[in-house]
Symmetry: C3
Subunit: 346 residues, 3 copies
């Protein structure tokens, strides 16, 4: 594919040799002749000088220098995604049909062109929408409902009555619908289990990473809204609600009955305490520990999490604590001097 052909495909304009041939995708650093690369962030601008890429996707208004062909686009990230379909490695394809080594209940209802891999177990009452791919070793519990065009990577498991929307991607080893962590302390100081009779409901266009755990509700349901993106090793406790198009980075923990709004962004290893509410559009920085409600649109960081500007200011104050202590010591000395002088005068 020539640079000009690719530019047409991604809605960009060629700045340089449009006839040059592109065969592969690579980062600016790794690129060799024949490669298409991209400049997503000014952080990497330095690499533009030395890159051996044949062409680079850049923002329309990028004004740096580069000896290779530029393809100017609105969003290099989005254009790269489109280019990946043309130049990326062949995508793995799973054949429709039920593998001979899968165990599928007689009453399971499978849509058109569903693919069930080897060693999958599909329990009674399961419903799977058209074109959904369930890869090797997945377990779908009783009455699980899976929408159309979903992709479950190997070893995913769902518990009974889990409901999952359309175009949902779930990565390897993730568990949906495990019991919430709920006990009552008995008088003998042992724990009595509270039945977790609710379920989990996942919207459309959701992507969930690997080895994630999402607990079923005590009753009612744990809800993951449409378009939500969840990274690896995240914990979502019982009765949590996550609003549409929220993004949750790796190793975040959201405690029981917490409600996270829509379009929220949570950085890695952050945590939200139980029963709290994080408002729409809020940003929770990585490692932040949310211990009280976060208003819509607020950017919080630190532990306990507070408005980010305030947190940054406090941190600056803390860094200057040694200097402050020094000033207090000097004041004490001066004060003693003044006293002595005053003693002489009075």
């Amino acid at each position: 594919m020539t640079a000009a052909e690719l530019a047409a495909r991604v809605g960009g304009t060629v700045d340089g040799d449009g006839a040059i041939d592109l065969t592969r995708l690579a980062s600016l650093e790794d690129a060799r002749s024949g490669d298409l690369s991209f400049l997503a962030h000014s952080r990497y601008e330095g690499a533009m000088v030395d890159t051996r890429a044949s062409a680079v996707l850049v923002r329309k208004d990028w004004d740096g220098k580069c000896s290779c062909t530029l393809i100017r686009v609105d969003s290099p990230d989005a254009a790269f995604a489109a280019a990946a379909e043309a130049l990326g490695p062949e995508v793995v394809h799973f054949k429709a049909g039920v593998h001979a080594c899968a165990v599928v209940a007689d009453d399971a209802r499978l849509g058109e062109d569903v693919s069930i891999g080897p060693c999958c177990v599909v329990e009674p009452g399961v419903v799977i929408g058209a074109r959904t791919v369930v890869m090797a070793g997945c377990y779908l519990g009783h009455g699980t409902v899976l929408g159309e065009d979903c992709k479950l990577y190997p070893h995913v498991s769902t518990r009974e009555r889990t409901r999952i929307g359309n175009r949902v991607i779930i990565h390897n080893g993730t568990v949906i619908g495990s019991d919430g962590f709920g006990y009552v302390a008995g008088e003998d100081r042992t724990w009595m289990k509270i039945p977790q009779i609710g379920t989990v409901e996942i919207g459309d266009d959701v992507e969930i990473g690997a080895n994630v755990t999402i607990d079923r509700a005590r009753f009612g349901k744990t809800v993951i809204g449409n378009g939500v993106k969840i990274d690896n090793l995240v914990q979502v406790a019982h009765n949590v609600r996550i609003g549409d198009h929220t993004a949750v980075a790796a190793q975040v923990g959201i405690a029981g009955s917490a409600s996270v709004g829509g379009h929220v962004q949570m950085g890695g290893q952050a945590g939200v305490s139980g029963h709290l509410s994080v408002g729409d559009g809020a940003i929770v920085a990585g490692r932040a520990g949310v211990t009280k409600g976060v208003p819509a649109g607020e950017f919080v960081s630190g532990y306990p999490a507070m408005q980010h500007g305030k947190a940054a200011k406090l941190r600056a104050h803390m860094m200057r604590l040694p200097a402050l202590k020094q000033r207090v010591a000097e004041i004490e000395k001066e004060l003693a001097d003044l006293k002595k002088r005053l003693d002489k005068v009075s």
Copy 2:
């Protein structure tokens, strides 16, 4: 089932219409006519006004107002658990017997009415107690001993010689008995693996969440006491000991050879450093980082974790750092003024 019948079943008394019919369980907010709900915490009292539940489980001494039938009990939580058996969704039942697609060693000893699901692998020397259910895709390593009435959800795996007590529940994807993280630094600065030849021993009535990891001991054993409850994605390192009836919330990490007492409560994302001891009945707040031993009964929080009252006080001092700095600046100004006045006088 009528409200009166349910009250009898959970040991409560009816306050209102005992003849009303109950068919389902729901939260106060979601409840409709025919639903039983419950008020577990004063936090939710506001929802009592508007709930459309037909009946609500409340504490004996609750004196709020509600137009629906009340069922007064000692513990609404415990009563709800009992009610769930009567009104909850049908519990999934797994047939006794070994599924045709399971691979069970000839010498494995299975108790009465044991259920082994499809795609399970049971290695030589395994012993499983009566009525235990091992769901699809579990792996029981050589010589694993599982007690009676246990429930292993799909994809659980145990390594060789793991011992598990009676009535233990283990959720999907959890790993018991993986090698501890132990190496010796060689003179060439590479790591030499220290054999992890110990094992894991889990008591009775334990519940372990999803995707948890519990490492086998270097030698001797990693011990999880009776009645311990562990939430999802928790890490228990080699040679850790957890005392009876301790509860460990999600994403906690307990480092090698640490000893956590009985009746301890650990909040989510907390951590305990290696070789430390957390005393009986201690409470470790969520996200606390324990870097030295915690006395029995102590409540610690923060990082490094300290007595909670002290941590709260320190945090308050930190929040007032800007004000303190301001005071110091004012003092410096006044001091300069005083000096000038004194210069004039003397």
Copy 3:
């Protein structure tokens, strides 16, 4: 085996009765007659007095008192590893060959004496080196290349085109090559997935714990160097590079495109933000949150992570904040007194 025989085997010298018979390994505390134990750290020296071990491995220059036979060695840890082979429990052995219940693609290339357990799925194009053991329920995606003498515990999964070196150990439930967490925000504020077309490359002599997640690169590759050791529940994001012989403790998270040098040590629950660099030989303390680059050889701790000595000093200052505030209050009082006295004089 006698103490003298064992000493010969581990390259040590006997101090005491060399004829004494050794049959088992145990910790100093648990040891009984017939047991060999070892003293790895002065921390445990107290246990030497009461141990009932028949013999103990100690450093050559250890000068404490013990009534049992001592076997003096350069490194008790290393000697213990050697002794484990002689006195430890029998190591589980997996037969070479493909289990009847495994599903292996026709074109997969298996080296000599490879062992593939039951319920494994090996996709087309996979290559597995000689003597490698793939235990029950593993999934090897299309074109995965596994070296010689590797050991994959049950339920490990690799995605397409993953490359793994020789003598690599991967524990249960770990996922290699899942998609990185990459999206572009569209104008309608929904997330568009960025294709993750790269791969993961793992060197020789690597060990990876249980339920770990290592994401494939956006393009290019995520790289785990030779001799790297990774503990349980660690998250390694897309395009991360970890240098040779680095050790990463449990629950650590390394964000996208971060570069961790060689011979680095990271403590449990630590985190590294995206695009940062941690230099060779650096030490990142447990729970440290690295938010800017760490120079080679530096020891950092705290959040935000800073040079450890500085972090410790700051923490000490914080602990003395109440005292500082007290001093400021006293200064204010004295200042007021001085003012009054000055008023009288002037």
